[in-house]
């Protein structure tokens, strides 16, 4: 069971899974939760929205049914993140749209035929299936009652209402086939355009904080919120036919299984699957609907528990997986912060220019918003979309409290005691290990404790770059605008922080010499 667990670890981490530091942190801290994680052969990725999740689950089920072990990494991020992950082999396949491929991946402004797209992708070592059947193009949507009142029916009609507030997704704002060319094409010049998360955008629309939003034509929310799709009267949006992109290295049996999905999902079916996914909050269950085409929703609901047990993970298993990964991220980064932070703190405690540089650097890192730090690391060669990046970012965050507390702890040792140690004739190393560090131990441990608690909290952001952890349910909850799912991640993260805090309180009693606790 353990070895299976480590197999999974080794595909992620830059060093040997059996090395001593790995064992110390992970075994000691994590095997408490000791769940066997499946060593996945084919890794499926998905973007951070419902349809991508559902298509990912459908692919997973199809491959599993063909006897191929799979893993689905849900909601890894946007197009570029998935594309880079596919090209670098971190994932083997994910669902994509032809329009997105042309504009965002191939960076072409002209229209390409399906064959042209396929041959361009081939140059990058990526294959494409035939279309799955539906066209999920971009659309602008408004609340039906408001659109009718203003007489807005087409995108061109928006020109007459520059007072309308646009709440658009960040991706749409930046896309080459997105907001800017659309506005230029239709001569739109609204007074207010803001970027907002896709799922939150619907809530903003419903509450009247915004008036116009971008959406996908198969979006289940269109019927749920009673929205109207504005007609693309000047045919601006290109075709967005759904396909699967896969690495050309993908094994033949997996590819054959995947190709069975070609031409099997039309718009109506996709909207139904999306609606089911958002209603039940269960992508596995929604995906199973695809395989039982004549199943009524009543029968489906009755089979809810059975389905979630058969095709999905139980909640406790998911929680264990999230928590284990969360502790892996936080624990590893903390270990690095300690190993590097304490020596830096010792160095900084000697004052002078170097001390200022060290404390200044650690302080500056702390002021970079965590999200921005992740975004800065992702494009660097060694990092990318990986656990490595998450651990590095967390490590940098954990550094300051440890460096600062080590430095102040050492500087606070009274001069008379420092001099006594010198006068005794103790060597510098003996003074450090036997006198200075034990005397500063309370301060150093307090710094480590602060770092640990910060890391547990910040590690939830790791899910943004597909590194998993308790941020995963928080992100999908945000995506679904579902508070219960958010709490599934937020509550365990908070509990974890409290547990870590009390663990360190206990550690104080072991590690701080008795003479300092009187």
């Amino acid at each position: 069971m353990k070895s299976v667990f480590f197999c999974r670890g080794s595909r992620w981490l830059p060093w040997d899974a059996n090395s001593v530091p790995y064992r110390i942190t992970i075994v000691a801290m994590l095997t408490l939760c000791g769940a066997a994680l499946i060593d996945a052969q084919v890794v499926i990725g998905s973007k951070k929205f419902t349809e991508s999740y559902v298509l990912g689950e459908i692919a997973k089920r199809t491959l599993s049914d063909a006897g191929i072990p799979t893993e689905h990494r849900q909601g890894m991020g946007g197009t570029i993140i998935l594309w880079e992950a596919l090209r670098s082999g971190q994932i083997d396949l994910y669902s994509e749209y032809t329009g997105t491929i042309t504009q965002e991946i191939l960076k072409r402004t002209d229209q390409l035929t399906f064959e042209q797209i396929a041959s361009e992708l081939g140059k990058a070592g990526v294959g494409m299936t035939e279309p799955l059947g539906f066209n999920n193009t971009y659309a602008l949507v408004m609340v039906r009652s408001r659109a009718e009142k203003l007489g807005v029916r087409t995108v061109s009609d928006l020109r007459n209402h520059p007072e309308l507030k646009f709440g658009l997704t960040h991706e749409f704002l930046d896309r080459q086939d997105g907001w800017r060319p659309l506005a230029q094409h239709y001569q739109l010049n609204p007074q207010s355009v803001i970027g907002i998360d896709h799922a939150l955008g619907y809530a903003a629309l419903a509450s009247g904080s915004t008036d116009v939003k971008d959406a996908y034509s198969t979006d289940a929310k269109i019927s749920e919120y009673d929205l109207v799709v504005l007609e693309d009267d000047q045919k601006f949006f290109p075709q967005y036919k759904a396909v699967f992109l896969f690495r050309l290295a993908l094994a033949q049996p997996a590819l054959s299984a995947l190709r069975k999905l070609e031409g099997t999902i039309d718009e109506a079916k996709m909207i139904r699957l999306n609606a089911e996914a958002e209603r039940t909050r269960n992508y596995t269950l929604a995906a199973s609907l695809y395989f039982e085409s004549d199943t009524t929703s009543t029968r489906l609901r009755q089979g809810y528990d059975a389905a979630s047990n058969a095709f999905g993970e139980t909640f406790s298993h998911k929680l264990t997986r999230w928590t284990a990964r969360h502790l892996e991220l936080a624990g590893f980064s903390l270990l690095l912060s300690v190993l590097i932070g304490i020596p830096l703190g010792i160095w900084a405690s000697r004052g002078g220019a170097i001390g200022h540089v060290i404390l200044g650097f650690a302080g500056i890192v702390q002021t970079i918003p965590s999200l921005a730090l992740l975004a800065l690391l992702v494009p660097l060669p060694f990092f990318g979309i990986s656990v490595r990046t998450a651990i590095t970012a967390l490590f940098l965050y954990g550094l300051l409290p440890i460096v600062r507390n080590t430095a102040t702890g050492l500087q606070d040792i009274p001069r008379a005691l420092r001099e006594s140690a010198v006068a005794l004739g103790l060597s510098p190393a003996a003074r450090l290990w036997q006198i200075h560090l034990p005397m500063a131990s309370r301060s150093i441990l307090a710094g480590i404790k602060t770092s640990a608690v910060i890391n547990i909290g910040t590690a939830t952001l790791a899910a943004l770059i597909g590194a998993g952890g308790l941020g995963e349910p928080i992100l999908s909850g945000l995506n679904l605008n579902d508070h219960a799912t958010i709490l599934e991640g937020a509550v365990p993260a908070a509990v974890l922080a409290l547990l870590v805090q009390s663990l360190f309180d206990r550690l104080d009693r072991v590690l701080i010499p008795k003479g300092l606790r009187l």
């Binding site: 005691l417 001099e419 006068a423 036997q434």
Partner: protein
């Protein structure tokens, strides 16, 4: 030459203020030399120079015939371990004891011996000897400094300084923070200890009675210079300057009240 330590023309300046100005001093073997003078006269600075916590700006410090010098070549001449070798031949006791709060009394005393890898039984024997010598009950050895009284702390500090049987003992106002009764008891014990060990000691105090009681030789300092050296009788009957008489009269009048 029976001088263990000799200072020749030693000067030390902190910032603009000269702390010690061209001092010549001999510490004779087997004798207790007492440095006395008002606060800030440079007496503690002399001790810190001898133990190498600070370096003189000019002048020479000679310990047992070898220069403990400022420049690198001379430091090298001290051999491997340099100044640390000298420090192990010197015991140093400061006002508050300078005990490490995270170590028990026993571990404070044995710290340096352990560092040097001395044999356990040898250390235990020495520890028993020192307990008897300093009149510290053995059951106090497992206490931490915070659990000891001020007098007990000074006894432990003294044991730590004497652990390696140093040739020279430096004491920087060791009794300064103690109440009068404890102080009197420790003065008596110190005198006995010095006598029994024939200990070469250099003690700093600002209390003339203590200096007279413990010192074979009294060195009176003022503003970084040695003003007069000799017995209390010398100082009283043949004061070198007005300052000497003032200092002695001030102390005597305090003692009479």
């Amino acid at each position: 030459m029976s001088a263990l330590v000799q200072l020749v023309g030693v000067s030390k300046t902190f910032g603009d203020a000269p702390a010690v100005h061209s001092v010549d001093l001999s510490v004779e073997r087997g004798k207790t030399t007492v440095l006395i003078g008002p606060s800030g006269c440079g007496k503690s600075t002399l001790l810190r120079l001898i133990i190498g916590l600070i370096q003189p700006d000019s002048g020479e410090i000679i310990f047992d015939g070898a220069k403990i010098a400022i420049d690198k070549p001379a430091r090298r001449s001290l051999g491997e371990g340099g100044i640390d070798i000298v420090r192990r031949r010197v015991g140093y006791v400061i006002q508050e004891g300078g005990l490490f709060p995270h170590l028990s009394a026993r571990r404070n005393i044995l710290l340096m011996a352990r560092h040097l890898g001395r044999a356990e039984n040898e250390m235990r024997a020495r520890l028993n000897q020192l307990c008897a010598l300093t009149r510290l009950p053995e059951n106090l050895l497992d206490r931490y400094p915070l659990e000891l009284s001020g007098g007990q702390r000074q006894r432990v500090s003294l044991m730590r300084a004497l652990m390696l049987s140093p040739e020279l003992l430096l004491l920087d106002e060791p009794l300064g923070a103690l109440d009068p009764l404890v102080r009197a008891a420790l003065q008596k014990d110190l005198k006995e200890i010095f006598a029994r060990l024939r200990q070469t000691a250099l003690l700093v105090t600002h209390d003339l009675a203590e200096a007279a009681y413990l010192g074979d030789e009294i060195v009176l300092m003022h503003e970084g210079r040695i003003v007069q050296q000799g017995s209390l009788k010398d100082l009283r009957q043949r004061p070198a300057t007005n300052f000497v008489s003032e200092f002695i009269n001030a102390q005597r009048s305090l003692a009479l009240t």
